[in-house]
Every structure is written in structure tokens, then in C-alpha cells.
Symmetry: C2
Subunit: 127 residues, 2 copies
Amino acid sequence: MRIGELATQTGVSVRALRYYEEQGLLAAARSGGGQRHYPDSAVDRVHLIQMLYAANLSSRTILDLLPCVDANVNTPESRALLRAERDRIDQQIAQLRQARDRLDAVITLSESPASGCTRVEVDALVS
Amino acid sequence: MRIGELATQTGVSVRALRYYEEQGLLAAARSGGGQRHYPDSAVDRVHLIQMLYAANLSSRTILDLLPCVDANVNTPESRALLRAERDRIDQQIAQLRQARDRLDAVITLSESPASGCTRVEVDALVS
DNA sequence: GTAGAACCTGACGTTCACGTGAGAGACAAG
DNA sequence: CTTGTCTCTCACGTGAACGTCAGGTTCTAC
């Protein structure tokens, strides 16, 4: 398929797909006229890339991880890399949970019947 | 306290503190010469701001949320805002979990005794 | 074979949360 | 009163992941 169809099938912009290629994340065959052609498997690969971007991984990190994930590279270094990134994601989850719980506490307070709660009570939550 | 001490006590750069003020997140009294002076409570406020930044909230969003969180503003709109951001964080957590589980699956495979697993087995995980 | 859609390569623009000097003023210590 | 440290206000730089023209080429359909 060409780049436009890959874009619509993945929901990713054409510009983004070219950017992924520029970063070495997504290879493409070229037609005689220089147009990119992708195999059907590219759809899954783009989804994988998007998933890793969504987890706040940089292009560089994704570039390092992709061989481990989809090409089955299996060396001590690749395993260490995988674990390191997994742990980073875990830490991010913990931070997000902390922020969410903080907001939940405020929400609970603001919805409690004692809606006229004083500033002191709110500050007690800060710690 | 002055800006340098607040910076060391919070672990945030002086530049970042000035930026927070520029964004309306952190007010400061001024001495005769124009230097910023902060109350002790500013330490907690900076930590709160950092927590929200860590949850991928923008300056603008934090600006909208802060009155609800620490000034006890309690209107239907503020409650809706709080819930909306809480839900966004929840969604992010779900995405991070998905990425982490994906990496965990790869890690498990790469550490399994059948280390010579074929490419087919790996692709089966893609879904 | 020709119109129009899709695609190409630069290359500059954008947003965000700061980093990084530059040049000058403010303030505590001796 | 001077020295040294801290602080001030511009204001440009940065990195990441694209957005957005511009000007030209390739492909598809009639």
C-alpha cells in the first residue's frame, strides 16, 4: 500500500509516517518513481510505534527497542534495555497515580455534603 | 525566602520558578529592589505544581486547576474540570499499562528457556 | 494523453518548559 | 564603601514530534 492508505488505516498523518522513516523506525520500499510502498504488516508496526510514543518513549529509545520487540533480538544488552524501559514506565505510572489520587481527594472533598469546608481542611491534604 | 532558597528547597531551577510566575502559577511578593520573596508555603505549592507537570498537565491546565485544588473553589464548572483531568490521567495510566504489558510479554519471551523462539511466535503477540 | 489526485523533497513554523548567557541592579559581610 | 554573591529583566536557544506551505513529479482514470 502507499503512504496515504497507511495513514488512513492507522489514523496517523502522512507527515508522521515520513518522520518515522526519517527516524529509522519504519522502512519502506520505493516504486520506480520514488513513491513509498508498505507491506500490510506496516499497519501493526505503526500501531506499535504509536503505543510506545504514547508511553512517552522518544524516537531514539523506540529505535533501540524495536529490534528487541519485533525482530526477536535477544542479547543480555537488549534484555537490560527492555527491563530499563519497562521500569521507567512503571515509575511514570506511579507518578500518574499519585497525581490522580490527589485530584480524587479534592473531588471527594468538593462533593462532600460539608461543601463549606474551610481552607484548613484542604491544606491538611497537601503534605 | 528568596528565589534561590526556594529553588534549593524544592529542587527546581530558578528559571523554572520564574517561569511558573510568568504562567500565573506562583505569586511572589517583591522587596523594594524588586526581588521576589516567597512564604514557606510556596515549597508545598511548587511540589504540587511539579506533581501536576509530572502527570503531563500543561501550564494552562494547571492554572485552571490550582484554584480548585488549593483555594477551595467549588462550583459545578470546577468540579467538572477536576473530573475531566482525573479521567484524562486515568486514560494515560491505561495506555502506559498497555505499553508496559507489551514490553513485559517480550521480556518474558526473551528470558524463557526456549530462547530460540521463532519470529512467528513473536508476531503472534502483536494482535 | 491529459486532468486531477496523490506523492515527492526540502525547509521553515509551532508549541512547551524551560536552558543559557548578557548586562545591570540589590544586598549581606567586612 | 567595596567586594562578592544573589537577583533582576530581556531575549535568543533547545529538543521533540510533527504541521504546513512551496514547487515539482508520479500515478490513476477516463
